[in-house]
């Protein structure tokens, strides 16, 4: 752990896992949706379901969906802000056998009509992991600039993306590929050492067999 993992993060209390991590899960879900969310159905599991209310986990997730970082002082008021900004939400519980005890599933719909299902967990210290995206299991911590590519599981798709990144002189730090079944829907999670701009995403988006490209930036908001 680096010294700013020991001192910090600056966050709205009371819990780094149940509040700060929950806000980050909401924020990353918003980024994965790539649009302002207008509907959210949130199902909590384990300790999130049992003690989430007392830790403001619900308020923190909504705050994240509204684009707030874990240190945003408006987190306690996120429900009323959601109402103003036109985000409708419901909470429930989920039975996720074998999942991390601080897990949550979010069904979200964006202003552009796009829908996403995200399952994520809070690991402690404000760190999180996306465990499932639209029904495909994956592992993504969102701690580095990350490109998430939904594609069809056919030969050459991974090579297309990596070749294009190499031509653009973008170094891949880590990369994982997941699919629901052979020849089915697949996801690439590509972590980078540097931030990239939208033009790169547009290039990737236009490659053959690429369904959707989403970018999770770590800088700014």
């Amino acid at each position: 752990m680096n010294i700013f993992d020991i001192l910090g993060p600056v966050m709205v209390g009371p819990s780094s896992s149940h509040t700060a991590g929950a806000a980050r899960i909401g924020l990353m879900t918003r980024k994965l949706l790539g649009a302002e969310p207008v509907e959210a159905d949130i199902r909590m599991y384990g300790s999130f379901a049992a003690t989430g209310k007392g830790h403001g986990t619900d308020k923190a997730i909504i705050a994240g969906l509204l684009g707030m970082e874990p240190d945003d002082m408006r987190i306690p008021d996120s429900f009323s802000i959601a109402e103003k900004e036109g985000l409708k939400f419901t909470f429930g519980t989920a039975d996720l056998k074998g999942a991390h005890p601080n897990s949550v599933v979010l069904y979200v719909k964006g202003k552009n009509g796009r829908e996403r299902k995200v399952q994520a967990c809070s690991l402690g210290g404000g760190r999180i992991m996306i465990n499932e995206l639209d029904g495909i299991e994956l592992n993504c911590t969102c701690e580095m600039p990350t490109i998430v590519v939904n594609h069809v599981d056919l030969p050459g798709r991974v090579a297309e993306v990596t070749t294009m990144l190499s031509m653009l002189s973008i170094n891949i730090a880590t990369m994982s590929v997941y699919r629901d079944r052979r020849g089915g829907r697949a996801v690439m999670v590509v972590e980078l050492d540097q931030e990239i701009d939208e033009s790169v995403l547009n290039i990737l988006q236009n490659l053959k067999g690429i369904v959707k490209v989403t970018y999770i930036s770590t800088g700014g908001k």
Partner: protein, 290 residues
């Protein structure tokens, strides 16, 4: 590579002829590949956030469960009217610890140090110290590096979260960090810093994490007080020249061993200890049943 023992930091200090905080800072620059200015700026930002958090307290606020809130205000009133048994300075430490613990429970913005549950310990000793002795801000930042270095070693050898090692790991680590920071601020040697940290951990060894209804409220808010007061006495002992008989790194290892043996019901599960008392269970049922 990040330090994995307190002795290693002391050895580096001796070899390079640098103070404790400088060794920690140099290691940070190396680890994260950042400039000295960037690192100092980030630390200054944390200190500012800590100070602002201390000032954000509102005594009328209550936590969502209603269990905590207002105690910092009660203590402050007592301090204004009477000379506390533990003295005026220690009285301020108690006030700040309660306030920050309650700020956290009431969803205010705080600085996790090392965790949100223990966020009151460091500011509880630093804020009154700065008000009384008025050190230059750079000195305070040096003390924060000192504290972070101690926390880093504890995280590497043992743990810093209640869910992993009980409250000894959480408030215990915060107390060790605060003790080291105080010694650094008050001009103590590197050796005194690590012995203050070791004594602070020793005195909280075995402390369990037993939050009522699993919330960071009872007993967490008041445990911040004990962590801060223990830091104060440990720092004073170290500044007086008293050492931990058990070598500091071995104390950290003992904390790990005790934490490993601790029953899961006493590690932030809200089952054992105070959470398991009839009152604790009643709160859990009333609150969670809603």
């Amino acid at each position: 590579m990040a330090f994995t023992s307190l002795q290693e930091i002391l050895d580096t200090c001796e070899k390079e002829k640098i103070p404790f905080w400088e060794a920690v800072l140099a290691d940070d620059l190396n680890e994260r590949v950042v400039t000295r200015e960037d690192s100092r700026k980030q630390m200054a930002g944390l200190w500012k956030a800590m100070w602002e958090a201390a000032e954000s307290y509102e005594e009328n606020e209550r936590s969502r469960s209603g269990l905590v809130g207002g105690q910092g205000g009660i203590m402050e009133k007592y301090l204004a009217e009477k000379e506390p048994l533990s003295g005026a300075f220690a009285g301020q430490v108690i006030v700040e610890a309660l306030k920050m613990g309650e700020c956290n429970a009431c969803m205010k913005r705080i600085v996790a140090a090392p965790t949100a549950g223990a966020c009151g310990v460091m500011p509880a000793v630093l804020v009154p110290y700065v008000k009384k002795y008025e050190p230059e801000e750079e000195k305070v930042l040096d003390a924060l590096y000192t504290a972070a270095g101690i926390g880093q070693v504890i995280a590497a050898r043992a743990y810093i979260a209640g869910a992993s090692g009980g409250c000894q790991a959480e408030i215990g680590t915060a107390s060790a960090m605060a003790a080291g920071a105080l010694v650094a601020l008050h001009g103590g040697s590197g050796k005194a810093i690590v012995h203050a940290a070791a004594m602070a951990i020793k005195n909280l060894l075995g402390l369990v994490c037993d939050p009522v209804a699993g919330l960071v409220e009872v007993p967490c808010v008041k445990r911040n007080v004990v962590g801060a007061m223990n830091a104060l006495s440990s720092a004073d002992m170290a500044l007086a020249g008293i050492e931990s008989r058990i070598p500091p790194d071995q104390v950290v290892d003992a904390m790990k061993e005790v934490g490993d043996q601790m029953n899961a019901s006493l590690k932030e599960t809200g089952i054992g200890g105070l959470a398991g008392t009839p009152f604790g269970k009643e709160v859990a049922e009333n609150f969670l049943g809603k």
